[in-house]
Amino acid sequence: MSESEKNKAHIKFFLNGEETEVAFAPHKTLLEVLREDLGLTGTKHGCELGECGTCTVLVDGRSILSCLMLGLDAEEREVTTIEGMAEAGELHPLQDAFADLGAAQCGYCSPGFLLAAKELLEKHPKPDRELIKEALSGNLCRCTGYIKIYEAVEVAAARLRGEEMELPRESLYGCE
């Protein structure tokens, strides 16, 4: 047994609404605990230095970079990962809109974006484009140029407000 495997820390927290207990090497980040000790690989990593936003999860409803938070600090807190976003097989409106508009291309940054957007819409049900950009400015995406992500957030925001919103024709087919 290696040095790092000795003397595991043990915490209890609320993961995607479920009370969860886990033991892990105490120096591990929340990212590592989620992926390696709990097998929730939906949370991704792009730098493990807090630079890219890919590992974003929600802790007590706030988006945080799980690569910069110790697993120990999750004790007794509510953690939401991408695995907890759809409920009973029903996609969250953000996930639906991302899927419809191709806002997830390679899909690697998508969990982070979806969770950051979820936090945004919970605080600001009707964000304008500038606010969306601001809220997502800590998340890098190399595939989409962000445009389809903004459009998906706008569609999801409208639907979450209970408004009917068709997918914009220009988003699907381009300008006339």
Partner: protein, 817 residues
């Protein structure tokens, strides 16, 4: 123009904005990337990388590392003595360096341990003794300094490759011109920066078979490299490309870490995983070559080009990679947008002690496109012509052959220019070249550029006569359809394209189909996700396989219904008589009828590109079954006080031939605009030449790439000028739309503040320097002044088609001067 695949039937799936087949998985975090794979008893690998840029390895001592509890195996270069490389002409890499290291980051040893922390600790206990060698850090140094050689092969000293080609009498062309311009440009190197760091897992089973899961764009080429280096029969190796978390060309080479974990798995009998750190991804690189360019173009008064002589100088970094192809690409596609009746290309690629360059989105063509389009803007000004008109009036003709023997198919560039000119309100914003008559206020500017890209390389990377893409289709008696293809989904949606195309031909729903891809045991070969080849090539192969299956179903159902086979149609999950649509069977019943009649229903399809008309030595790079076209207008805001360039909006039109799925095409266009914007404004691979040629900032924080706050607004127009070689007429979209963005922005900056930044990226420092120069009454240009002297070989001369050439080089005549 007839389109492959639909036989005039209205399209039900193709052209519709369906979800991707894997959209739900990607939006729920269920897609399994390489680093998500965990196997029982799996070991973790770390590679020790050189901190020396150029040095002989005198000694490696791993005793202390091996003694560390939890370390299972350590290997060094002597364990993997066989070299490899993506191109047959550049087999110059070893998985772990043997005699010397060639850049900071070159790996020298690898550890397999029980966990990543132990592997890391062990890696740092390995002692390596180096004998430093002088370094080569730039194109200039590589051209001037022959010794020490970074490699002991190549055209001379530290020159990897020299190319010299002449199509028609270029000097005669310059003599006919009313204006001849010569300009020099530099395009800095940059990198792919996929969000997913490369990762791989190897498993060697007790029966002697190796499986490698890897985030690779080219499982077939990895398969070949592993067989070579590991000395295993290829039939005992299975390579599975996991969904790539972004590729952009950066996962197209066989990589040392893939070889290393395979070897460690063989030695230990346990699965071994490697996941690179972000810093290591910068060292893998294979990104955009820094290219210095000299462009000489002759034009008539109306802007018609009479001749062009293009010289490019590439900084290749420490290994060959795709570099020979990249060098040819810097000279290949100049001829496919505007008529260039006579053309000369000279290119040279150098070795330097930096991470190797290779293919990044647009592979070797964004750099020359930038030079060509910015120079055309300067020419338009000198001739007093509108920048759109000068382009619009001299477009290459559809279905023609260029001076360098590239066969043009459909060509929608004129339509692209028309769309963006109206969309951007060009006439209301561009007011000619007189700064006193400008319509936009000083500081605001508008610029235009065009481009074209291949839809698949005409030739495979290794010489063979086999198809470039294969598709296998299996229909089962429950109505299930499984499509199998070696193609690799890197986020562009190639898995979905297969489903859409097969669904269209068989009249079923794309979500009825199971797609199995990129697994060398299960799927027929597709060469990989590079050169924008997948939709066209695997799409055509899928059409052929599906049409063969449709034929079997039609025969069986026609027999059952007692109608002629020609009457049978497949749509809405039914197979029926078009004259009596009520008479028919469900798709699943049709499969039962066909299986009863013919036995198990499986079909195959394959695709080989048409032969190229070019037969000269060097004609292998550039030919393609079709060419996509793009045009872009950029509107910018330049702050003369700070030099900061804000791109406010880009209007872009892309001729995609036919959208297989328009929303995915939109995504590729927008993503290309984004990547082009990053290249023109901020992205650069920069090294400290005087400090060991180390990378200045191998991190995502300091390697600047556009966030949401820098990304511009994009107005996209899709032009569908169907190409007879494309599936349903489709052409590429993954790479081409990047190309017009950098020059359109550069031209807009000139329009805004009157300075020419002939060097990419256009940083605030460069803009300010140019503005200060201009304020002193000088030209207000920032860019390279000259190119190095290179002793070029005598050009290989080819008569153009217009001169009656047959595509072959003229017999060599020795010239004494």
């Amino acid at each position: 123009m007839t389109k492959n695949g639909n036989n005039g039937k209205p399209l039900k799936v193709v052209g519709k904005p369906f979800r991707k087949v894997d959209a739900r998985a990607k939006c729920t975090g269920q897609t399994r990337f390489a680093d998500d794979i965990v196997l029982p008893r799996m070991l973790y690998c770390k590679m020790l990388r050189s901190h020396e840029p150029h040095a002989l390895i005198k000694k490696i001592d791993a005793k202390k590392a091996l003694a560390l509890p939890g370390v299972v195996a350590i290997i060094t270069g002597s364990d993997l003595p066989i070299p490899y490389g993506i191109l047959p002409v550049s087999q110059d890499e070893h998985a772990l360096c043997i005699e010397k290291v060639r850049f900071v980051g070159d790996p020298v040893a690898a550890v397999a341990a029980l966990d990543e922390d132990i592997a890391f600790e062990a890696m740092n206990l390995i002692e390596v003794e180096y004998e430093p060698l002088n370094t080569i850090s730039s194109i200039d140094e590589a051209v001037m300094i022959d010794e020490p050689r970074i490699h002991n092969y190549g055209d001379s000293g530290n020159i990897h490759k020299k190319i010299s080609l002449e199509f028609g009498d270029v000097e005669a062309g310059f003599a006919e011109a009313d204006l001849v311009r010569e300009d020099t440009f530099f395009y800095e190197g940059n990198t792919h920066l996929p969000l997913e760091q490369h990762a791989a897992v190897a498993h060697f089973d007790p029966d002697g078979k190796l499986t490698l899961w890897s985030s690779t764009q080219t499982p077939h080429y990895v398969h070949r490299a592993l067989a070579r280096v590991l000395e295993l029969p290829a039939s005992h190796i299975r390579v599975i490309a996991t969904p790539n978390g972004g590729g952009f060309g950066g996962k197209s080479d066989p990589f040392n870490h893939e070889v290393v974990v395979s070897k460690l798995a063989m030695l230990t009998g346990r699965p071994v995983k490697v996941t690179l750190t972000r810093e290591e991804v910068f060292y893998c690189h294979r990104g955009r070559h820094p290219v210095l360019m000299q462009v000489k173009t002759g034009v008539k008064k109306d802007g018609a080009i009479t001749a062009m002589h293009f010289k490019s100088f590439l900084d290749g970094g420490a290994y060959g990679s795709y570099g020979v192809a990249s060098t040819f690409y810097t000279g290949a596609l100049q001829t496919v947008t505007y008529e260039v009746p006579r053309y000369k290309f000279q290119g040279v690629r150098c070795f330097t002690n930096k991470p190797p360059c290779g293919p990044k989105r647009g592979h070797g063509t964004p750099q020359p496109r930038y030079g060509l389009e910015v120079q055309l803007d300067k020419i338009a000004e000198q001739l007093g012509l509108d920048p759109i008109e000068i382009r619009r009036n001299h477009l290459v003709k559809p279905f023609s052959v260029t001076a360098n023997y590239l066969r043009i198919g459909s060509m929608g560039l004129g339509a692209c220019l028309d769309k963006i000119a109206v969309g951007a309100g060009w006439r209301n914003k561009f007011s000619g070249w007189d700064p006193d008559k400008r319509k936009l206020p000083y500081g605001k500017g508008i610029g235009v550029a065009c481009s074209s890209y291949i839809c698949g390389a005409g030739l495979p990377i290794y010489w063979n006569n086999m198809p470039q893409s294969g598709v296998q289709l299996r229909l089962d008696r429950q109505g299930g359809v499984c499509v199998m293809c070696g193609s690799t989904d890197i986020g562009q949606g190639s898995d979905s394209i297969l489903a859409y195309i097969v669904a269209e031909v068989l009249g079923i729903d794309p979500f009825d189909i199971r797609v199995v891809t990129a697994d060398t045991d299960l799927t027929p070969v597709d060469l990989g996700s590079y050169s924008s080849r997948v939709t066209l090539m695997s799409g055509n192969a899928a059409i052929q396989a599906a049409e063969r299956a449709r034929e079997l179903l039609a025969i069986a159902v026609a027999e059952r219904l007692g109608v002629p086979i020609e009457n049978i149609s497949l749509a809405e999950r039914r197979v029926f008589d078009v004259e009596n649509p009520e008479a028919g069977v469900t798709f699943a019943e049709a499969v039962v009828l066909a299986e009863s009649k013919f036995g198990t229903i499986g079909t195959v399809g394959s695709y080989s590109p048409p032969p190229s008309p070019g037969k000269y030595k060097g004609s292998g790079v550039g030919p393609s079954p079709a060419y996509s076209y793009s045009a872009a207008i950029a509107e910018v805001d330049v702050d003369p006080a700070t030099g900061i360039v804000v791109v406010e909006r880009i209007w872009i039109a892309h001729d995609v031939g036919q959208s297989i799925n328009p929303v995915l095409v939109m995504g590729q266009v927008e993503g290309s605009v984004y990547m082009g914007l990053g290249e023109i404004l901020m992205e650069e691979m920069a090294y400290r030449a005087n400090r060991n040629v180390v990378h200045k900032f191998p991190s995502m924080l300091e390697y600047k790439s556009p966030t949401t706050l820098e990304m511009c607004d994009v107005k996209t127009y899709l032009i569908e000028d169907a190409d007879p070689n494309g599936p349903f007429g489709a052409k590429e979209v993954g790479q081409g739309p990047l190309l017009p963005v950098p020059p359109a922005v550069a031209n807009a900056v000139y329009n805004a503040v009157g300075v020419r930044i002939d060097e990419v990226p256009i940083t605030p420092e460069k803009v300010l320097k140019a503005l200060r120069e201009k304020a002193k009454g000088r030209s207000g240009r920032y860019g390279p002044e000259s190119v190095p002297e290179v002793s070029w070989p005598e050009p290989l001369k080819v008569l153009t088609p217009a001169e009656g050439g047959d595509g072959r080089e003229l017999p060599h005549v020795a010239v004494h001067s």
